[in-house]
Symmetry: C2
Subunit: 310 residues, 2 copies
């Protein structure tokens, strides 16, 4: 069915379907359910309200560009100094040989295969060539363990949660003693994001699919990171006034007025939230670009470590 589900000046239509009496957006590839009421799903799907929002918009695109520019300078400096830079125009064979060399070299602490690879390389071939002990995407249990432990540091931090924390730092958000809530406990975002927030001395709570009344906890959050992939799940009423909101969710929803008939929407109902929060990431243009920037940054860190370049 189609229903008008807004009170906004620029409301849109969204295609909903009825499951167990609850109207939901169309199911997506990764299903995730929080025990919420039907009203949770009725959010204004406008991109921006015409009334000016009170929250600072955390511009991941701009920050990611600054990081990429810094990385370019560093790479040029490496090239001039030691004549070796992270491979970009290499052949697949050359990259495989390089990875194999890293695997056999005991002084190498980690290998990061930056995705996406250039189109002339077979991703699986190269990923499979990396020794598991040196798979420093940050997802290896050894890195996650070091992330969890006090007094230990991982070789690499998973890129998306690292990007979230980096954004917060760049906007001078205070962590120490703050209440932080993470929605989602995935290995690649929610769980490492919670560990990173705790490393920053925030008091962290983790909400997941089994959590009853998640809004009771989110309303206590000074910092809220949502990484679920359910469009507009987090309503204005879930948010503590003045909170800082990081929206990792990104899902296409039907929108007849958009090019291609759909557009990307985050976990957080932007129109409602931006009136209550002190700062918020947009979707797209928030966390997404930061993930890419952190991937490049991790690759540079790896290269500098390999070549003992300060």
């Amino acid at each position: 069915m189609f229903t008008d589900c807004s009170s906004s000046t620029t409301s849109r239509l969204i295609h909903l379907y009825n499951r167990n009496g609850v109207f939901l957006p169309r199911p997506s590839v990764s299903q995730f359910s929080l025990r919420t009421t039907a009203s949770t799903w009725r959010c204004t799907l406008s991109i921006r309200s015409s009334s000016s929002p009170s929250a600072i918009v955390i511009d991941g695109k701009a920050e990611a560009k600054k990081i990429r520019d810094d990385i370019k300078i560093e790479v040029s400096r490496m090239k001039e100094s030691i004549g070796v830079v992270p491979a970009e125009d290499s052949s697949e064979e050359e990259v495989l040989k390089y990875v194999s060399g890293f695997n056999d070299d005991p002084s190498v602490h980690g290998v990061l295969v930056q995705l996406p690879l250039p189109s002339h390389m077979d991703e699986q071939n190269i990923l499979n060539a990396v020794s598991i002990e040196k798979d420093v995407d940050g997802f290896h249990p050894l890195n996650i363990g070091r992330l969890a432990m006090r007094g230990r540091e991982p070789l690499f931090v998973p890129c998306t949660p690292k990007g979230c924390i980096e954004l917060l730092h760049r906007y001078n958000i205070e962590f120490k003693g703050k209440r932080a809530v993470v929605i989602g406990r995935s290995n690649i975002v929610g769980m490492p994001a919670a560990l990173l927030l705790q490393k920053e001395d925030a008091t962290v709570s983790i909400i997941h699919s089994r959590t009853m009344n998640p809004e009771e906890l989110t309303r206590q959050a000074d910092i809220l990171i949502s990484a679920v992939g359910k469009p507009n799940m987090v309503r204005g009423s879930w948010i503590k006034p003045g909170a800082v909101l990081i929206d990792v969710g990104i899902k296409p929803v039907e929108d007849p007025s958009a090019a291609g008939g759909e557009r990307l929407v985050g976990d957080i109902c932007y129109v409602e939230a931006s009136k209550i929060a002190s700062a918020i990431t947009p979707v797209p243009g928030g966390v997404g670009p930061m993930t890419i920037a952190m991937l490049i940054s991790n690759t540079l860190t790896s290269a500098k470590r390999i070549h003992n370049f300060q």
Copy 2:
């Protein structure tokens, strides 16, 4: 100074000292501070109130005995079947040789040195002989990482938090959808306890030394695990009625009436808490015996895995 700090029928005296205007019990080896008010520390230090408490007393000593008895049966079964049992009456040289054999054997996945060792063995010699990749006390980052990740399982779970969860299971405490709060984020108790509670589908919050107003969070906890080591820090007013309380803290406090002039006290003010909670572990006799039982259990698991014994 000495002060009477109770409203109980069987109150005791406790030796306090003044630091920055806050009266605290004598400092202990591992200092840990929560930002609380002075009133936090004024707890009745009676072992039991004469009025019958409402909470079920979770008897770790009895449960640990049951586990040890089960292990005895398993060890006998192993001895009869394969003639190999976890070394107990071996010499130090025999144990070192055995450990070295595990280190060199690629089919061996882990080695656990069960502490305390028999008195005729040098603990450091034997611990140092275990390859770090196979140090399966459960504290290795690889095991912690697997504990943190969904879809992964550690080879060994650290004994004290494992004991806490085992106790809760044995008392049929429901985890799913419950609010759990862990006080303390140490590598050996607080952090792995939080990860285990999350694996059980509880919604977990972690309180630590930087947390402001910890009692606001503890009052929401259906399950509360405290692992700080500050006598009577958790007052009755911190506890949600009907909560289940696991007290990992254990510290000696001065008590002129006790043998030796001191006795062991937990993080949770037992007299106050036992009137509000639905279940509570005593100190001593709660988590302590379970830690030992889990150490023995882990050793058996390791031995069975080594010998492919089902």
